[in-house]
Amino acid sequence: MKQIIQTLLVTALLALLVPGEAAAQCKGFAKSICKKELGAYLHDGNYHAAVLVEGEEAELYKTFYSDLEYRLAICSADGMPPVEFTIYDATGKVLYTNKDEGLAKTWDFKLESSQQLKVVVRVTTFGIRDQLPVSGCVAIMFGFKAK
């Protein structure tokens, strides 16, 4: 019960903060920290970032094209538990999960034919009882090789 109340209060607090300062910090985090993970890949310009609580999930749908080589980068702010991500095709088949790669932050891929993929991101938990759940910014960024 105590944990539920804590979770609710923290999430309620986040709901109040997110439109303001936290969201602005998220933008800065995505641009200055996460974008670096794309390395030599050109960022496509899309912005996908949100404040997530440990244990929370987010989904992203995107069509990827056969002629491009992509890098996916998923980053979480300092102090957050690591982030898991799994890639599914349209039939729900798992194509990749970073759980098999030591929770790697990036994934490089290309496709034989264009298709829509689903990216499911989950913030893992520290699993510490009687402590407020940690929250912070999680950014999902895509880059492609410009030729």
């Binding site: 960022h43 899309n46 912005y47 996908h48 929370e56 194509l95 891929f109 829509q116 895509f142």
Partner: protein
């Protein structure tokens, strides 16, 4: 572009009410009998569980549309030649006075800018960045594009990598500003403007004498999936008049793309040690008949003409 599922939209309200309920329960319990207190506990279990379930199911959903830079790269990969006459002339910018026309044409100008940068058309860059700046300023988007962006562009006019980086930042800054400012419908309208411009340029570049086996046609065919994504994104903001007006013609465009038949084999992922990349196999076969292509080309131009001219 983030879309909160309907449950998440009311989550702050649920949480606020629940938190208030907890506060009230905490202060009022003292005066209650044990029986009443136990009854309260029993009654409280259900909303807690319900709220926790709502938190669990209130996941965030992002829809990522192809950005102008990505579309420009795809068209270049298809071997199409640059044609400056297809771009929206910067002189038109003074015609755009409503937030709808400014948002659509911000997407349009960023897309034109992406094409110009991808094809090293440096003489066009500063003017198109200026036009994009005017649209962004008109929409009240602060710091996305300013004089320093244009100065940086001028200083690096022959450095393609830096130029593309600036174009990417321009789009990112506009989107993130609007998302933070809860102006999701405007952000979606900008994306729609960029998407239509990409389709307009690509469909206009197809040489009908070489239609069969044309790589650019294959690229346009692949946009079938993105048209569905675009509609899904716009349908999230039907309370916005500009989006409602855009949805009608977008649905007509979707019905034309729906005529494209697409079959695909099951996909498989394999890591290639040489390239360091995961290769996702699974061929897809799509066919777009010439009359469908011509109808799409006409519809795209028709949609674009409603806000460009």
């Amino acid at each position: 572009m983030i879309i909160m599922k309907s449950k998440l939209k009311i989550l702050p309200l649920i949480l606020g009410v629940t938190a208030l309920a907890f506060c009230l329960a905490a202060t009022s319990c003292k005066s209650k009998t044990r029986g009443e207190s136990n009854r309260d506990k029993e009654e409280a279990v259900s909303p807690d569980e319900q709220t926790m379930e709502q938190i669990k199911s209130a996941e965030k959903v992002f829809n990522a549309l192809p950005t102008p830079l990505e579309v420009a790269q795809l068209i270049k990969e298809a071997g199409a030649r640059f044609d400056a006459t297809l771009l929206n002339p910067v002189e038109n910018k003074s015609n755009y006075t409503t937030s709808k026309s400014m948002a659509l044409n911000l997407g349009t100008y960023v897309c034109d800018l992406s094409f110009a940068s991808m094809y090293d058309e440096t003489s066009l860059l500063v003017n198109y960045m200026g036009a994009a700046e005017d649209m962004a300023t008109g929409l009240g988007i602060i710091d996305a594009i300013d004089e320093s962006t244009i100065e940086r562009l001028e200083q690096n006019i022959n450095n393609r990598d830096v130029i593309m980086e600036i174009v990417s930042e321009t789009f990112l800054n506009s989107q993130s500003y609007l998302e933070d400012d809860e102006q999701h419908a405007i952000a979606a309208t900008i994306i729609a403007g960029g998407f239509i411009e990409g389709l307009y340029i690509s469909t206009s570049m197809v040489d009908m004498k070489n239609y069969k086996g044309n790589k650019l046609v294959a690229t346009i065919t692949d946009q079938k999936m993105s048209v569905d994504d675009m509609i899904r994104l716009l349908e999230t903001y039907t309370d916005n008049t500009a989006i409602r007006e855009l949805l009608g013609p977008m649905h007509e465009l979707k019905s034309l793309f729906d005529k494209i038949e697409r079959t695909s084999e099951p996909s498989n992922a394999q890591y290639n040690e040489k390239t360091g990349m995961t290769e996702i196999t699974g061929a897809a076969r799509s066919e777009m008949k010439q009359d469908t292509f011509l109808a799409i080309r006409e519809k795209v131009a028709e949609i674009r003409n409603t806000y460009v001219n």
